[in-house]
Symmetry: C2
Subunit: 143 residues, 2 copies
Amino acid sequence: MKVMEIAKAAGVKPDTVRFYTREGLLIPARNPDNNYQQFDAEDLRRLRFARKARQLGFSLPEIRSILNQADDHHSPCPLVREVFEQRLEEVEREIRELNQLRDRMKSALTAWQAMPDGTPDGHTICRLIEHWDEPAFVNGFRE
Amino acid sequence: MKVMEIAKAAGVKPDTVRFYTREGLLIPARNPDNNYQQFDAEDLRRLRFARKARQLGFSLPEIRSILNQADDHHSPCPLVREVFEQRLEEVEREIRELNQLRDRMKSALTAWQAMPDGTPDGHTICRLIEHWDEPAFVNGFRE
DNA sequence: CTAAAACCTGTGAGCAACTCACAGGTCAAG
DNA sequence: CTTGACCTGTGAGTTGCTCACAGGTTTTAG
């Protein structure tokens, strides 16, 4: 298979295939005639694996070490389980933060309904933002 | 005020002050003696404004145009309201996607409890991932 | 047979919002 | 007068692609 063919087979763009090759996730053979990359069924499996892992939240370095471990005939599954639980916690933290952001935004919108727009007067730029309360989590949560 | 002073006053790192200056959000005067940047109360107001706006989800280009509009003696508030509602929708979309990701991860974790680890055999890398179902929204939602 | 279209190659840059590093200049304190 | 803390501008690193470019190859149409 050539780049475009494996890309179509895995449902990704050719550029993504090239990028993964650059990053060492795919190590295709070469056609000595024209130096084209030759992908086989194993490469396709790796590419599909990588895409599924990405959808589950794995990073490229993580996927690379999982693939390397499989190449060394070790089971990557324990590593998969471990990384995965960390990622789940991160995702849940991101969700909590985004929910807080949404709440802050919604309460701001409500408060703004009664507020006039006003022109900058050298003391304020836009009261909507300047007179909006500092969220609590900035001090207590992020640092 | 010098960089470190305004940074402390606004609760950000000096590097952030320098970065915002590079990006044109702050336009400090210069001390002709040593070419140091001289920030005044107005700069501090802009910096604090920018930080608050960032916490509400505004991007730096958006903040820059809001500040520019205020500099031109136009009320930036209508722009603030408009951009803000778009951002709120984006945030809610991100939350929906993250929630779906979390659900996928959780159901994967549950399914994995009964699965053995297994060693790569040339046909599979890690069944945990390979035999996990394609999420629905990849086809129907993202593209 | 040839010319154009489609594909291949490697590489570098762009995205967002910082953060860090570097090399060299300035200034206050001891 | 030296040390240390600060200043200057700039370039690179972060993440996962995506796009662009310049040039080589292969396929297809005329």
